[in-house]
């Protein structure tokens, strides 16, 4: 299943489940912001990287924490402690 392949439900590793259509989201850390400012390259706690649309949150910067659902950031915590990353940033 697509969601399972992408990773589990909730804020981190949670076993099988679709992350796309339930009331679930994934915490990610911003690695880099693209030139348009509309997307950011992010990484989750398991080291999975993804390009995330950031139009629905305030301007993001590297190191910020985001809550991401279906490829779109819904919540933004600027300057918080980084999400732990397996396999480097």
């Amino acid at each position: 299943m697509n969601g399972a392949a992408r990773g589990p439900t909730g804020e981190g590793e949670r076993g099988p489940g679709c992350i796309t259509c339930g009331d679930v989201a994934v915490r990610m850390r911003v690695l880099a912001v693209d030139a348009t400012g509309e997307t950011a390259r992010c990484v989750d706690a398991g080291g999975r990287r993804e390009t995330v649309a950031t139009a629905l949150v305030a301007a993001v910067a590297p190191g910020d924490a985001l809550l991401v659902h279906a490829g779109v950031a819904l919540h933004h915590d600027p300057g918080t402690a980084p999400v732990p990353v397996r396999g480097g940033a």
Binding site: N2, G15, L56, V57, G71, P84
Partner: protein, 371 residues
């Protein structure tokens, strides 16, 4: 946001659970409904029910959007997918949900071009890459997901992608909760509110539950300690006679929610007069359609869809499960005719469905339930 591990600490969980018995009266039962399928998953994955005092029961609500989608809407998706030249895109969970004439997966097996996507933005990319094809996104989900679709449609218009459209099945959380609360004989003492829907709509949006229905609600995160703490907050309210909307998930959820997301939704969607819910029937203003301002991106206006309202299979008791009236194992086909591999009801199809959660974590029979 803090680290996830802090909210999975077993020692902290046991300490929190040890505080619960003092909050319950010995001969009273407490039925608490977790609205969201994500919470159901956490409850079974971490065996939270085993930590609760006798008399405290968790009931699973209608918060899995796949589970509440009626068969007629699946049929609509299949009908669109069978149009010549169409690529229908949808979330993975949707693929196996049964309609009256099979699932999208089965439609794919006989030639329809149905593709799974992770995000509606992926569907828009497929449309850009296939300008000679019509690409339709089968949109589904509560307020957590609707902003992603709204953003995608805004982007499709801005970029001018004429071969992209959306078959919209987005639903709203408040109307079905009101429908449940309005039902006679409802025996729910309190609600564990959906944390990520609240990220968008805000914690204040759940104030109608204590205000209009005199039941407490706690908006909750999704880690095991979040859920345990939310249960403690509910039991504390009940013990002290309070009835309020509280927010356990403050590290993410604000009182007002995500205003940008709400504005995007308001621009792109308009409420439907009514929408059919599996197990709950037709509920007024409970779903979103594409607004007139975005009519050119509305697949329902671009294609002919059956739009039929269909009864659920007679042997399926998803409705009673979704209303919290029976436990999944009490359904007459649970684990026999209906399994995740061969599901009759949507609650067994989606990993977030209550039946699938029970089945996956071994809650197959009454003995396990009452142990």
């Amino acid at each position: 946001m803090r680290f996830v591990e802090e909210f999975r600490d077993g020692e902290l969980g046991r300490a929190l659970a040890a505080e619960l018995p003092a909050l319950v009266e010995p001969d009273r039962t407490y039925k608490l409904m977790e609205v969201c399928g994500g919470h159901t998953h956490t409850i079974y994955r971490y065996a939270i029910e085993a930590l609760l005092p006798e008399g405290v029961e968790l009931v699973h609500g209608p918060g899995c959007p796949v589970c509440v989608l009626p068969m007629g809407r699946v049929d609509d998706g299949i009908a669109v997918a069978q149009h010549p030249g169409v690529i229908l895109t949808c979330f993975g969970d949707m693929m196996r949900v049964p309609g009256s004439r099979g699932s999208l997966q089965e439609a794919r097996s006989v030639g329809a071009d149905v593709r799974m996507v992770y995000s509606p933005l992926d569907a828009l990319r497929i449309a850009r890459e296939n300008p000679e094809r019509e690409v339709v996104f089968f949109a589904l989900g509560f307020e957590t997901t609707a902003p992603s679709t709204a953003l995608t449609l805004m982007r499709a218009r801005r970029e001018g992608v004429p071969n992209f459209s959306c078959l919209c099945n987005h639903v709203l959380i408040e109307p079905p909760l009101r429908a449940l609360l309005d039902a006679p004989g409802l025996e729910i003492d309190g609600f564990i509110g959906p944390g990520h829907v609240a990220t968008v709509v805000g914690a204040d949006a759940f104030g109608f539950i204590p205000r209009d229905y005199r039941r407490p609600v706690v908006v909750s995160g999704f880690e095991p300690l979040d859920v345990l703490q939310s249960i403690k907050m509910l039991l504390t309210q009940l013990a002290s006679g309070r009835c309020e909307a509280e927010n356990q998930y403050r590290r993410v959820v604000s009182p007002e929610g995500n205003l940008r997301a709400r504005e995007a939704m308001a621009e792109v969607f308009s409420p439907r007069e009514s929408f059919e819910w599996r197990g709950l029937g037709s509920i007024a203003h409970s779903a979103l359609g594409i607004s007139d301002a975005y009519a050119e991106l509305d697949a329902e206006r671009r294609f002919v869809v059956p739009g039929a309202q269909l009864e659920d299979p007679r042997e399926c008791q998803c409705g009673e499960v979704l209303r919290g009236e029976i436990k999944p194992w009490e359904c007459r086909v649970f684990g026999t005719a209906c399994t995740p591999e061969r599901a009759i009801g949507a609650c067994m199809v989606s990993p977030e469905g209550a039946c699938a959660a029970y089945y996956s974590y071994g809650r197959h029979e009454p003995v396990a339930e009452t142990a």
